[in-house]
Symmetry: C2
Subunit: 173 residues, 2 copies
DNA sequence: ATCAGTGCAAAACATTTGCAGCATG
DNA sequence: CATGCTGCAAATGTTTTGCACTGAT
């Protein structure tokens, strides 16, 4: 296995427990477009399609996955270009509409952030089967808050990623 | 600035509080070579030079930084190749001699792990000045342990990175 | 009309891999 | 002297950038 677990484990899949293809989160999509408009952005086809993707997929998506999803079932229209994906990700991220999820495999993933912030969570990754499981923990958040204060930092973001082997893989191997 | 903070903030520097250029950690270097030998590895010039780098630099280094450091002041000898750097990193990491530090800027960093494991820590990164400050926190570790157990995971590694603005930059801006 | 938004192609980077030669045990 | 270690160069994969064009207001 590679040093950085790069390209050597299965694609993270399912298991996210919240949000599956098909159940578009209209509320978030609407919220996102509203925020974009307020920030003085025009409404373009590319970014719009991406909002649909984020609204439909609850789990963390990489740029390439977003690209594929945005272009799937849209063979009629002109495909969304790769650069547009990255540029829109930057805008959405700057506005806090999506959050970065770094699993340490060299690919940056993103997922929608709900306005009512009660979906804040982190991830556990099974290095064997690629399962990506979200979790949240009050004690963890409290500890992080305390650390930030202790060091006089204004913490804007924090990532916590646990890597290991899930019980299913553990038993199999 | 980039979505992933990529290439857009100063290089993380100093401030690590433990280990500065010049004070080679002979104990670790010796330990590392011992472990390597036990694992059935021969002793090559390239990996050897890298061990010196890790022993001398206490803070997190990227592959490129390691390369530069390993080749600095060694203009007489043949330079250490890039692939050797990555290959050695993989071996050292597999043996648990170095740990990965992912700051989310697209570059993977590594730092030496002391045998007596009392140097386990995480990092706070100032997105403005690039300062990288290590910290450790018992409550945080406890929370992570509890989460792992709750989800039936055997957690082998965990990253916690806080991103924000340090008090110095906060006051300046 | 104006200017943000977009697609394409090329560039910039980090990392990985193939391979032939060198060095260690 | 066999096999592990190494450097080089080329390949891979992700993200960024330049530029001309399109579409929204």
């Amino acid at each position: 296995m590679g040093i950085a677990g790069r390209h050597d484990h299965a694609e993270p899949h399912g298991h996210t427990g919240h949000g599956h293809a098909g159940q578009h989160d209209h509320k978030w999509a609407q919220y996102a477009r509203e925020q974009l408009r307020r920030a003085g952005h025009n409404r373009g086809a590319s970014r719009d399609a991406m909002i649909e993707v984020f609204a439909g997929e609850g789990c963390a998506c990489s740029a390439r996955e977003i690209e594929e999803l945005a272009n799937r079932e849209r063979l009629d229209r002109k495909p969304v270009g790769r650069s547009s994906i990255y540029r829109a990700i930057e805008e959405l991220h700057d506005l806090g509409l999506i959050t970065r999820v770094d699993l340490g495999d060299g690919v940056t993933r993103y997922e929608a952030v709900r306005p009512d912030d009660d979906h804040h969570h982190h991830h556990i990754l099974c290095e064997q089967c690629g399962a990506l499981i979200p979790f949240d923990d009050a004690e963890l958040e409290r500890a992080i808050g305390a650390i930030a204060g202790r060091h006089g930092f204004v913490v804007k973001e924090h990532d916590v990623t646990l890597r290991g082997v899930c019980w299913q893989c553990e038993r199999t191997s």
